[in-house]
C-alpha cells in the first residue's frame, strides 16, 4: 500500500489555477487509473481530472468550489503496490495477479447472464455473494457452490415489505451481516430472543439517531476518600455494598432535574420532556444485556439508589426482571468503568435523548495550583441525540454533573 497524491493538472498553456467544480468520487471510493476524479473549471476549459493511479480515495483535500494553483495536491489515493507499475501480461504472474484481484472489486456488480439467471432461480441475493472472479466478479461457479452448500445468501424480506415500514430495515441489516460463508469448524449461533432484540434496538438507534459525543474529566478524589471511609460500615449495616456507581447515578439524577432538556424523547414532530427522572442502568450477563430502570432516581437517597442497583442487577443475572423493571427509562447511565474502560462512545438507548458512560476511576498525576497531585480521575462520556440536544446544553449539563461530583465529600454527602 502506498499513498499517492493527485495534483491540480495544467489544463492549458497559460492556466495557473483551477477550481474544483464537482468531485466525482468520495472518500473510500475505488478508482481505476484514468477514471475521472473531479470536474475542474479554469478560465479556459472545463475538464475532468483523471486518476493517475488505481486505488482507494483516502482524502479529498480541496473542497468543491475552491480554487487552487496548478500542482497543488487535491486528493490522496491509497494504491495497491502491484498496480502502480504498469503490469504487462508477462509480469502478471500468479502472485501479483491475486493481489490485484483481491483489492479490485470493479467487476463485483457486473453479472453474467448465467449468474443472474441462477441467482433469480434460486433466490440468491447477489449483494451478499463474494466473487472469486477477476476484479471481484461473481462467477457461475461461485453461485453453483453456494447452491451446493445450501448456504443461502437470501434476503428474507420480500420486495413489497421492504418499501413499507421503517421497522424492517434494522432486521434486514442484521441478517445481511450473518450471511458470510460458514467454514467447517465455525460455530453458527442463531440470533434469537434477547440477542435479536438487542441487535434490532442497536441498529435502530444507530441508524435513526444522529449521535454526537462529549467527554468531561472529573476529579473524584474526595468522593473516593469518603466512600472508602464508609464502605465497611455500610456493608455491615445494610448487607450490600455501596458502589461508586450509586453516587454517579445520584449526581446525574440531580443534574437532570436542573436540565430537563436532557431528559427527553424524540417523537418525530415534537420533543417530549419527561417529568419523571427514571434512569436506565445497563446490566450485562455473559451473553445478554439488560437495561433495568431506577424510577424517580432524583427522589431517592444514595443508599436507596445503591439498594435498587443491587436488586436490579441481582434480578437481571437471575433472569427475573419483570416488565415493570425495564420500562419507562428516560436517560441511561452505563457503568463502563466496571470493565476498566476509560473512554467509550455509547449507543443511545432508543428513544432516549442521551446516554452517559461512567468510566473507570484512575489515579493520575494532576496539576493543582502549579503542583503535581495524585488525584482520582474519571471520564464521563456522553452520547447525545443531536436532533434533540446541542453541544451547549449538554456541555452545561456535564459541567453540572462534574460540579456535583467534585463537591461530594464527607461533609456534603448524605448517604442516607
Amino acid at each position: 500500500m502506498a499513498i499517492e497524491q493527485i495534483t491540480m493538472p495544467q489544463l492549458g498553456e497559460s492556466v495557473t489555477e483551477g477550481t474544483i467544480s464537482t468531485w466525482l468520487v468520495d472518500v473510500g471510493d475505488k478508482v481505476n487509473k484514468y477514471d475521472p476524479l473531479a470536474e475542474v473549471l479554469t478560465d479556459k476549459v472545463n475538464a475532468e481530472v483523471p486518476s493517475s493511479y488505481t486505488g482507494i480515495i483516502k482524502e479529498l483535500i480541496v473542497n468543491e468550489g475552491e480554487t487552487v494553483a496548478v500542482g497543488e495536491v487535491i486528493c490522496k489515493i491509497e494504491t495497491v503496490q502491484a498496480s502502480t507499475k504498469d503490469a504487462s501480461p508477462e509480469e502478471v504472474k500468479n502472485g501479483e495477479l491475486e493481489e490485484v484481484t483481491t483489492n479490485d472489486l470493479s467487476m463485483k456488480k457486473r453479472y453474467s447472464p448465467a449468474v443472474l439467471r441462477l441467482a433469480q432461480d434460486h433466490n440468491i441475493d447477489l449483494t451478499n455473494v463474494d466473487g472469486t472472479g477477476r476484479a471481484g466478479r461473481i462467477t457461475r461457479k461461485d453461485i453453483e457452490s453456494i447452491m451446493k452448500q445450501g448456504v443461502r445468501a437470501t434476503s428474507s424480506a420480500s420486495p413489497d415489505t421492504s418499501t413499507t415500514t421503517k421497522e424492517i430495515i434494522p432486521q434486514q441489516n442484521t441478517e445481511k451481516k450473518a450471511s458470510p460463508v460458514v467454514h467447517t469448524g465455525d460455530i453458527e449461533i442463531p440470533v434469537t430472543g434477547i440477542r435479536k432484540v438487542i441487535a434490532n434496538n442497536m441498529v435502530k438507534s444507530k441508524q435513526e439517531i444522529p449521535h454526537a459525543w462529549m467527554t468531561v474529566e472529573v476529579d473524584v478524589t474526595d468522593l473516593v476518600t469518603c466512600r472508602n471511609q464508609v464502605k465497611e460500615e455500610f456493608k455491615q449495616k445494610e448487607g450490600f455494598s455501596i458502589t461508586y456507581f450509586a453516587f454517579f447515578v445520584k449526581a446525574v439524577a440531580t443534574a437532570l432535574k436542573e436540565y430537563p432538556a436532557i431528559n427527553s424523547t424524540w417523537a418525530g414532530d415534537k420533543i417530549i420532556q419527561r417529568k419523571d427522572i427514571n434512569l436506565s442502568i445497563a446490566v450485562a450477563t455473559d451473553n445478554e444485556l439488560f437495561v433495568p430502570v431506577i424510577k424517580l432516581a432524583d427522589e431517592k437517597s444514595i443508599k436507596g439508589i445503591a439498594k435498587e442497583i443491587n436488586e436490579l442487577a441481582t434480578k437481571a443475572r437471575a433472569h427475573k426482571l419483570s416488565g415493570q423493571d425495564i420500562q419507562g427509562g428516560t436517560f441511561t447511565v452505563n457503568n463502563t468503568g466496571s470493565f476498566g474502560s476509560v473512554h467509550s462512545m455509547g449507543i443511545i438507548n432508543h428513544p432516549q435523548a442521551a446516554i452517559l458512560q461512567v468510566e473507570s476511576i484512575v489515579k493520575r498525576p494532576v496539576i493543582i495550583n502549579n503542583m503535581f497531585a495524585a488525584r482520582d480521575m474519571v471520564n464521563l462520556c456522553l452520547s447525545l441525540d443531536h436532533r434533540i440536544l446541542d453541544g451547549l446544553v449538554c456541555g452545561r449539563f456535564l459541567a453540572r454533573v462534574k460540579e456535583i461530583l467534585e463537591n461530594m465529600n464527607k461533609d456534603t454527602i448524605n448517604i442516607y
Binding site: T101, S112, P113, A114, R117, R134, T139, R140
Partner: protein
C-alpha cells in the same frame, strides 16, 4: 491394441478399406510408386497395383474431377491433394459439382468421393505448405469436412468418410502425422461423421477446437490442472456440418468458452461455433465467448520467429485458458 502414429492410422484405414471394398481406389500426385510425399499411401501400390493406386499429373482439378466422375459411376475414390494449399484449382469441381450433385439431380446421382489433404503449419512450410483451408468449404451444404485430432479418430473417421455416400473432405494436420501417437484398435471400426467428442471432462472452462489444436489444448489443460483449473475439451472432429448439440452441451457445462483454431481468425470455423453458442446458451454464459486463432495476415510466414507468432501453440492456449478461468 497397437500404438500407431497418426499417419500409420491413415495408411491402415486406407489399406483395410481397399481390402474390404474393391471399388475403393486412390489417386493423387506421387501416391503410387513413391507412396506419397508424407508416405500416407506407403506400400499400397505394391499391394493393390497401379490400377487402384493411381499416380496423376500435377493437376488438382483433374484429380478432383476424375474422382467425382468415377464416384458418380459407383466407384469409391480417395483423392489426395498433396498439400491442402493446392486444393484451390479443384474448388470448382468440389463445390459446384460434387457438393451439389445429389441436390441438382434430385437424388438420381451422388458422388461418394473422399478427398484427403494435409493442412496446417508449424513445419516451416511457409506460404504454400501451411494453410488451413477448411473455411473455404464450410458453407457448402452437400459437403462434409472431417478433421480428426488423434490416430484413433483418424482411422475410424477415414473409414466412415470412404463409406459415406457423399463427398467428404478429410483434412489431416501434417505436423500431427508423426508427432501424435496413440492406441488404435486393429479391428475394423467406424466413427460417426458429424459427431464431436469430449476429449477431457472439466468444470471451469470449456475449450472447443479441432485438429492439432486439440492436442495443444490438452497439453495446456494438463498444466492448468496443477493450478486447480479444470478444463472441459470438446473436439469438433467434423467441422462441417457442426455438431450443434455437442457444442451447446459443452458450452453450457461451464459457461466459459474458448474457441481455438489455427486458421486466420476472421471468417473461420470457430466464428460459426461462437454463433451457435450465442444463439443457444445466453443464460448459461458466464463470460464472453473467447477465440484464439491465427492472426489475420495473408499467409504463414517462413521465418521461424514469425511462424511461431502465427501458430497456435500450447503456451498460447494455456494463457488464453487461464485468462478465461480467472475471469
Amino acid at each position: 491394441m497397437a500404438v500407431m502414429t497418426y499417419i500409420q492410422a491413415i495408411t491402415t484405414a486406407l489399406r483395410e478399406e481397399m481390402i474390404r471394398d474393391e471399388k475403393v481406389f486412390i489417386l493423387g500426385e506421387d501416391v503410387g510408386k513413391k507412396g506419397g510425399v508424407f508416405r500416407a499411401t506407403d506400400g499400397l501400390y505394391d499391394t493393390f497395383g497401379e490400377d487402384r493406386v493411381l499416380d496423376t499429373p500435377l493437376s488438382e482439378s483433374a484429380i478432383a474431377g476424375v474422382g467425382i466422375g468415377a464416384a458418380m459411376y459407383g466407384m469409391r475414390p480417395i483423392a489426395e491433394m498433396q498439400f491442402a494449399d493446392f486444393i484451390l484449382p479443384a474448388v470448382n469441381q468440389i463445390i459446384s459439382e460434387a457438393a451439389k450433385l445429389r441436390y441438382r439431380s434430385n437424388n438420381d446421382w451422388n458422388a461418394p468421393i473422399t478427398i484427403r489433404a494435409p493442412y496446417g503449419g508449424g513445419v516451416h512450410g511457409a506460404l504454400y505448405h501451411s494453410q488451413s483451408i477448411e473455411s473455404i468449404f464450410a458453407n457448402q451444404p452437400g459437403l462434409k469436412i472431417v478433421m480428426p485430432s488423434t490416430p484413433y479418430d483418424a482411422k475410424g473417421l477415414l473409414k466412415a468418410a470412404i463409406r459415406d455416400n457423399d463427398p467428404v473432405l478429410f483434412f489431416e494436420h501434417k505436423r500431427a502425422y508423426r508427432l501424435l501417437k496413440g492406441e488404435v484398435p486393429e479391428e475394423d471400426y467406424v466413427l460417426p461423421i458429424g459427431k464431436a467428442d469430449v476429449k477431457r471432462e472439466g468444470t471451469d472452462i470449456t475449450v472447443i477446437t479441432y485438429g492439432l489444436c486439440v492436442h495443444f489444448a490438452l497439453q495446456a489443460a494438463e498444466k492448468l490442472a496443477e493450478e486447480g483449473i479444470s478444463t472441459h475439451i470438446l473436439d469438433l472432429r467434423t467441422v462441417y456440418p457442426l455438431d450443434k448439440d455437442a457444442i451447446i452441451e459443452a458450452a453450457k457445462k461451464t459457461g466459459k468458452v474458448l474457441l481455438i483454431t489455427e486458421d486466420n481468425l476472421e471468417g473461420s470455423i470457430i466464428g460459426e461455433v461462437a454463433a451457435i453458442i450465442a444463439e443457444n446458451c445466453l443464460f448459461d454464459l458466464d463470460a464472453p465467448i473467447k477465440r484464439l486463432a491465427g492472426p489475420d495476415v495473408p499467409a504463414m510466414p517462413y521465418a521461424p520467429t514469425m511462424e511461431k507468432f502465427f501458430m497456435v501453440n500450447p503456451e498460447k492456449c494455456e494463457k488464453a485458458m487461464r485468462d478465461l478461468a480467472e475471469f
